[in-house]
């Protein structure tokens, strides 16, 4: 009997070690696994490397994890937010390092990591500061930068529904980074609003096959980051 459900967000993140690399799904608040992030704050793991498109907003979710001084490095395309100074403050202080990666290169590096592609040549960022110090090569009169696949110890992602085998479907643009991240992490943990038995999802419409998912946590009514921020919430 395969059943990847775990009882709580706390149980799902319990074994995340200090120094882990963690991919965190979401683009802005869409797809941000707020409850898993809060459980990770409670759990206490520190010296983390976070791979995520953004750095969170307000003082909840990812921004709260940063604010708790658990993250020493972020690999990110857009670490700014209209309503959060958490990351900028840590960055200027020198506590949290930044590896800035173009958004598409970030997505492709994660996908490559999950797909066993060690490295690839991309036209993105050629001639810009983000290609400086990187290997480049000309093919057919066009220059390309060599970028490397990216893997992580853990991925924390958010779906709409999952079955007990770990097959996942998403909600609208909350899908964003979750499918490639699920492929690229040694342990993938997904929070979903609904879980079901095998057969509860149409095999034609599964977005992330269960082979990429290790733990499923039901969070029936996940918080929306924007609502928490609007309410002035701060975690913990």
């Amino acid at each position: 009997m395969i059943d990847k459900r775990v009882a709580s967000a706390a149980a799902a993140v319990a074994d995340i070690a200090d120094g882990s690399s963690i991919m965190i799904g979401g683009f802005g608040e869409a797809g941000s696994p707020v409850e898993l992030l809060h459980a990770l704050i409670d759990q206490g793991a520190k010296d983390l490397t976070v791979i995520s498109n953004n750095t969170g907003s307000g003082e909840v979710g990812l921004a709260a994890l940063l604010k708790a001084r658990r993250v020493r490095k972020v690999v990110c395309s857009f670490p700014k937010s209209a309503n959060s100074t958490v990351f900028p403050d840590l960055y200027r202080e020198g506590f949290t390092e930044l590896e800035l990666v173009p958004q598409g290169t970030l997505a492709e590096r994660i996908r490559a990591g999950g797909a066993g592609v060690h490295a690839f040549y991309t036209p993105t960022a050629v001639g810009t500061p983000l290609a400086e110090g990187k290997e480049s090569r000309v093919f057919d009169d066009r220059e390309f930068v060599l970028e490397y696949g990216l893997r992580a110890d853990v991925a924390l992602i958010k779906g709409r529904a999952a079955d007990t085998h770990g097959n996942v479907v998403y909600n609208k643009t909350a899908r964003n980074f979750a499918p490639p991240m699920a492929m690229a992490a040694a342990t993938t943990i997904v929070q979903v609003q609904e879980t079901c038995e095998p057969g509860g999802l149409d095999p034609e419409t599964v977005v992330t096959p269960g082979i990429f998912v290790d733990r499923v946590v039901a969070v029936a009514e996940p918080a929306h980051e924007s609502a928490l921020v609007a309410a002035g919430a701060s975690y913990p």
Partner: protein
């Protein structure tokens, strides 16, 4: 100078309308945040464009009515949007495969500077202490078939944004095809900036004066002069 009033030229809406005229029916288009977003309002009624938002949606529609939105249906500017009939959702790696793979017809972006070579700087002023943030701009300019820039012709303090060479960090090298400003429409050609159209009441000299590199006359005019 043939004109001296600072008020001369197109409004932002005029610029967006002028750019919209140049987008063919059926095009797949990615509009950047800010002025580029205005373009969608001015697309002629007889054309259907399909909007791509790089966070994972083709067939993006306008903002929802108040209360009808879903915080998980947003655009690249993180604002709530809608999905039109015929839309499709996909993940980020697939979305940027569309961008990098040359499947989008047009990317419309803002700019800090555009060079005569088509170099674009639009993500960082390189200020020490600023938080660098790039998002998808470098991917868009590297991959999309046509890159149009929409921007004021000069900075707030009157410095040209169309320059010989960008002083700000680049977003991409030789990537811009055409620039729509409040003063003119300008093509990037092998010879550099070439005027396509002037805002009403302006002449080439006026715009040249506000441009940081030579501005060639329109092809037709040049031909007329040399023939």
């Amino acid at each position: 100078m043939s004109g001296t009033t600072q008020a001369a030229g197109w409004t932002r809406e005029d610029m967006a309308r002028r750019l919209a005229e140049d987008i063919p029916d059926g095009a797949y288009v990615n509009l950047g945040i800010g002025i580029p977003e205005l373009v969608a309002r001015f697309v002629p009624d007889d054309r259907t464009l399909i909007y791509h938002t790089e966070n994972g949606l083709l067939g993006m529609g306008p903002s929802p009515d108040d209360g009808d939105g879903d915080p998980e249906l947003i655009n690249a500017g993180k604002r709530q949007v809608t999905a039109l009939p015929g839309a499709a959702y996909f993940h980020h790696a697939d979305s940027f495969a569309m961008i990098r793979g040359g499947h989008l017809d047009l990317s419309v972006l803002g700019a800090l500077q555009v060079a005569a070579s088509g170099d674009l700087a639009n993500w960082s002023t390189g200020e020490p202490g600023a938080i660098p943030a790039v998002g998808g701009a470098m991917d868009l300019v590297a991959g999309v078939k046509n890159v149009f820039v929409i921007t004021q012709h000069t900075t707030r303090d009157g410095k040209p944004k169309l320059v010989e060479s960008c002083s700000y960090p680049l977003t991409g090298r030789g990537v811009v095809d055409r620039v729509y400003t409040d003063l003119a429409v300008v093509d990037i050609t092998a010879e550099g900036f070439r005027l396509v159209e002037l805002a009403p009441g302006l002449d080439l000299e006026f715009v040249q004066h506000r441009t940081g590199a030579p501005l060639l006359p329109p092809i037709a005019e040049q031909e007329a002069t040399t023939s």
